[in-house]
Amino acid sequence: MVDAGLLDAIVQGLITGSIIAGGALGLSLIYNIAEVPNFAHGDMITIGAYLALVFNNPAEIPFLPAFGSAPLPAAAIVGVVLAGALGAAYELTIFRKFRQKDADIITMVIVSLGLALVLRNVVLFLVGSKNIRYESASVSNTNFDFLVTGAGMTVRTTQRQAGDVVTTGLWGYPWWLLAGGLILATAVGYGVFRAYRREEGFDTVYLVPPKILGTAVAIATAIVLGALIQLAPQGTDPIVATRIGLSIKHLTIVGVVLAAMFALNVALKTTKFGRAMRATADNMDLAEVRGVDADRVQLLVWVIASMLAALAGVLTGWFATNLTPNMGFTLLLPIFAAVILGGISSPYGAVAGAMIIGVSMDVSVYLLPSHFATYRIAVAFLILIGVLMIKPEGLWGDV
Amino acid sequence: MSEDSSVAPSPEETILAVEDLEKHFGGIVALDGVDLSVGSGITGLIGPNGAGKTTFFNCLTGFYTPEVGSITFQGADITGSRPAAVAKSGMVRTFQIPRELSEMTVLENLLLAPPDQSGERLSGAWLRGDAFVDDELSVRERALEMAEFFELDHLLDEPAGNLSGGQRKLLELARALLTDPEMVLLDEPLAGVNPTLEEKILDRIHDLEAQGYSFLFVEHDIEMIMNHCDRVIVLHRGEVLTTGTPEEVQTDDRVIEAYLGEVDV
């Protein structure tokens, strides 16, 4: 039996971070462009999760006829789209009006707080407070045991099937392959970085910053190599061993969030509306003078942000295998911490901040005695306060 | 740089000495090694838009922390001091764009300024001894006197947000003068003030100068600077172009090229 170690805590932290990142992407848009520190964001996440529930598992909602269950992905898409419509409603009926009155940031904070109260209680009113789950296939965890031996590394995968632990795979990499693979991956990553980087100029705008692209390519290469070249086990008598628990669910969550981040980034940097949004973020008045229709930009911001929040809600509900009216509100603090930490100005910043928060939450739970597990959120917050004390504008500044 | 500041005040009358001050905003170098000393009396600070005058004031009064350089006021090093500490040490500034407290009345804006009021401390406000009453009465008297001088006395109970642009400038100035400063940094105090009142204020500044107050005075009206200042400092692109008496500055070729040449004097 191999124990889960620091590595596993980091991987779990990245998954937690992805969940947080889903909310942080939308919040950073609203915070940065609409200039609303949106305390309703947590409850927008909840609303999204329940919208998907309406189509996925209507039997759980008291006043709805049980009209059958759509598969979770389909229900999620419908839920996200409906959440977008609600986002438009928030903007048109509330935030636009306050913006037209030049409401200050304190007022916006309190308005969003009022909206939060309404949303949370609408869920409570319609669904009640019981725990509900999505109707979805159960996914079992695969444990990856990494055994470092004298000859190299052995990987063993095990799964729990019908109550028994079954070994589903056993393979290995000798030292020369590990070293070679790492060198190759680094070389490929660096090559991409060099090829992609352009002359530093005033108007150089990268879709993906070269450093991030290079690192991502290197990691991807290493994973692909590791998956393709599986040699014989290098012994099962480890010097060091560690276990990582993963499932398709986790990988899907990370993948969906990274895809959302990338899509948002492309949209912001290549489309006309994206450019208008970024101009509005820099200076709303100036953007209007230059012919940007600020109202349309803000409407789009609320729609996209609500859709992202709904996506985060579905992922959260699926990940935690239950939905409660409070699920979003409990996420609000880590999400705010992530957004402020990442500087509120870019999707990458929001995701990076979320990953830092997620990893530090799970790693601290691993490192601290077990009864400190309830302090996960406290850890996220202490990091935020520590950073703010040194850099009051957030890690990547630029407000 | 100012190697040739021929009329730099002799050390004993130097009140404010600034050495090698630098302030950057991202790529913009707003102050690029400012070296100067200011003596008593009225000193003019001129320079084209964006020369760094306001930034210089912000560094002097602790609102910005300069990256490099030191500031000495009346013999004490005040580099990096907090704004309140600078103000308490006797150097008070006005804001170029007036910052009236718009929801408070004009009188309250003025009453805020005088230093060391007994009722400003929590203990004073709670206990309300004789000092509380005496201080408040004398502060009110001074505020009323100041308001009368600046022709704001009929507006005392108006919220300051209702004042006109020029009146805000006056309120800003009145507030600064009520803090009992040694040196007042005035950032374009007279822009938008009507000529008769302008004369009156300048007279008042001369009166105060006679009583020992010193002024550092940003103004774009060259004539006013020439007529009212004892010395002039010219700032250009974050550097001191020259300093001297108004006559000297007026005839300096570089000044004419950099600044005066741009305007029709």
């Binding site: 520190p37 009006k97 306050f98 009155k101 409401a103 304190i106 007022t107 904070v109 309190i110 308005v111 009022g114 109260l117 309404v118 209680n121 409570l124 009113f125 009640g128 603090l333 705010f336 911490a337 309830t374 959120i377 406290a378 917050f381 202490l382 306060i385 703010l388 009051p392 | 609102f63 907090r82 704004p83 309140a84 500490a85 103000a87 008070v92 500034r93 804001f95 910052r99 407290l101 929801e103 408070m104 009345t105 309250e108 009453l111 805020l112 300024a113 009722g119 929590l122 004073g124 406000a125 709670w126 309300r128 009453v133 201080d135 408040e136 502060v139 009110r140 109970d157 919220p159 507030r175």
Partner: protein, 418 residues
């Protein structure tokens, strides 16, 4: 339960939460600090007071303490143990102020929105600590068997039934008379809308309080409502029961807190606080150490929240971490904004409106399986009111209050009214 009993419970709540709100108003209304962690000081005040006054050998309590301050002075009679309890309250207030000092040092320099978020975060963390650390204050089990000041003295009886009824009855009527007098004066000062609002609400309340019981329950109910201080069933001869004492205690604390804050605000000190709220750079440029003022405002406001917490504990008789969720802070913000930010009377009005909506709707008959729905509907209503008020009347029902520094021998005392 008679309407009078319900009202006594409600008004006690309102008095306690008004004190809490006045503490928040000092921070938010007068100084401009968005302290989303205000409830933390309510909690600290409640717990510290409870532990300071708890008997040392309290059963089912495994946290630090109890220190039994009332017991220490019990030799001096009931007033001695009351003094011990008051000391406990002072301890709770000091503890709340000190915790806010520790919170303020890192957070008060931040942007206002970051302050709001970090304050909320810290309050959540403090709540988690109290909940998870059993050794501290008994963790999730909470503390019961709380010391209630003067509880042995009650029900207070002055003699025979008739004497009790006469004395407490007269006092009750006197209170009504005073309220009526006060209302008439307010009515005279009020504008047209104010008069209509007052006439309608006073009319409805008196209809509900005096006329309805008379129709429903006859003279017994009516008598109970009119002579509300007198409880005929308390003790052999009737008298003043403990709930009514707690009400008087809470209203007394509220009056004290109100005047204390008024004294603070109507002074040069208050002027600096308001200047900070509007534009912190200005008082700084004029030589005021604004950080110290903000810190003091935070600590003073937190101490008042602490006092409210002490009363809360006495009123409920039991404290546990769940009672101090962040929603309590948000409710207080709502109440302050409804009544009028930077207006202490407005805080009391707003708190009354808020808790009347929140608790008064219990008279609406709904089947018990819909109780969650009813609770949720109230909060939806409150959230919506908050947004509507911010839009149509951002200054709240009463608007910002007037300021006046009392100066003997000065005719211009009122000249700095806003």
């Amino acid at each position: 339960m008679a309407v009078a009993d319900f009202l006594i419970t409600l008004v006690t709540f309102i008095a306690i939460y008004s004190l809490f709100g006045i503490g928040l108003n000092l921070k938010f209304g007068f100084t401009g600090l968005i302290d989303f962690g205000h409830v933390a000081y309510f909690m600290v005040g409640a717990y510290v007071t409870v532990v300071l006054t708890l008997p040392a050998d309290a059963a089912t309590y495994g946290g630090i303490g109890g220190f039994d301050l009332p017991g220490l002075f019990a030799a001096l009679g009931p007033l001695g143990s009351l003094f011990g309890w008051v000391l406990g309250v002072v301890g709770g207030m000091v503890a709340a102020a000190l915790v806010s000092l520790a919170v303020g040092v890192p957070t008060l320099r931040l942007r206002e929105d970051y302050l709001a978020i970090t304050a909320l975060g810290i309050a959540t963390i403090l709540n988690t600590v109290v909940k998870d650390e059993d050794w501290l204050f008994n963790g999730p089990y909470g503390i019961s068997g709380i010391h209630k000041p003067l509880v042995d003295v009650f029900p207070l009886s002055l003699g025979s039934f008739t004497v009790n009824m006469a004395v407490f009855g007269l006092l009750s009527v006197a209170v009504f008379a005073y309220v009526a007098y006060w209302l008439v004066n307010r009515f005279r000062e009020a504008g047209r809308t104010g008069r209509i609002a007052m006439a309608v609400s006073v009319g409805l309340v008196s209809l509900w309080y005096f006329v309805m019981p008379a129709i429903d329950g006859g003279t017994v109910e009516l008598t109970k409502n009119v002579l509300w201080l007198f409880d005929p069933t308390a003790g052999p001869n009737g008298g003043l029961d403990y709930d009514r004492f707690v009400l008087i205690l809470a209203v007394g604390f509220l009056a004290g807190g109100y005047h204390w804050v008024e004294r603070t605000i109507n002074s040069p000190y208050g002027r600096v606080l308001r200047a900070i709220r509007e534009d912190e750079d200005v008082p700084q440029a004029l030589g005021k150490e604004t950080f110290q003022y903000k810190m003091q405002g935070l600590m003073f406001g937190s101490a008042l929240a602490g006092a409210a917490g002490a009363l809360w504990a006495v009123n409920i008789g039991f404290v546990s971490p769940d009672q101090f969720a962040s929603t309590i802070t948000f409710f207080a913000f709502t109440a302050v904004i409804i009544g009028g930010t930077a207006n202490n009377k407005g805080v009391i009005l707003g708190t009354t409106v808020f808790w009347a909506i929140r608790n008064g709707t219990r008279f609406i008959d709904v089947p018990s399986q819909y109780s969650i729905q009813l609770a949720a509907a109230r909060l939806i209503l409150i959230g919506a009111i908050l947004i509507v008020i911010l839009y149509y009347r951002p200054q709240g029902l009463l608007g910002e209050q007037d300021y006046d520094i009392d100066l003997p021998g000065s005719a211009t005392g009122g000249s700095d009214d806003v």
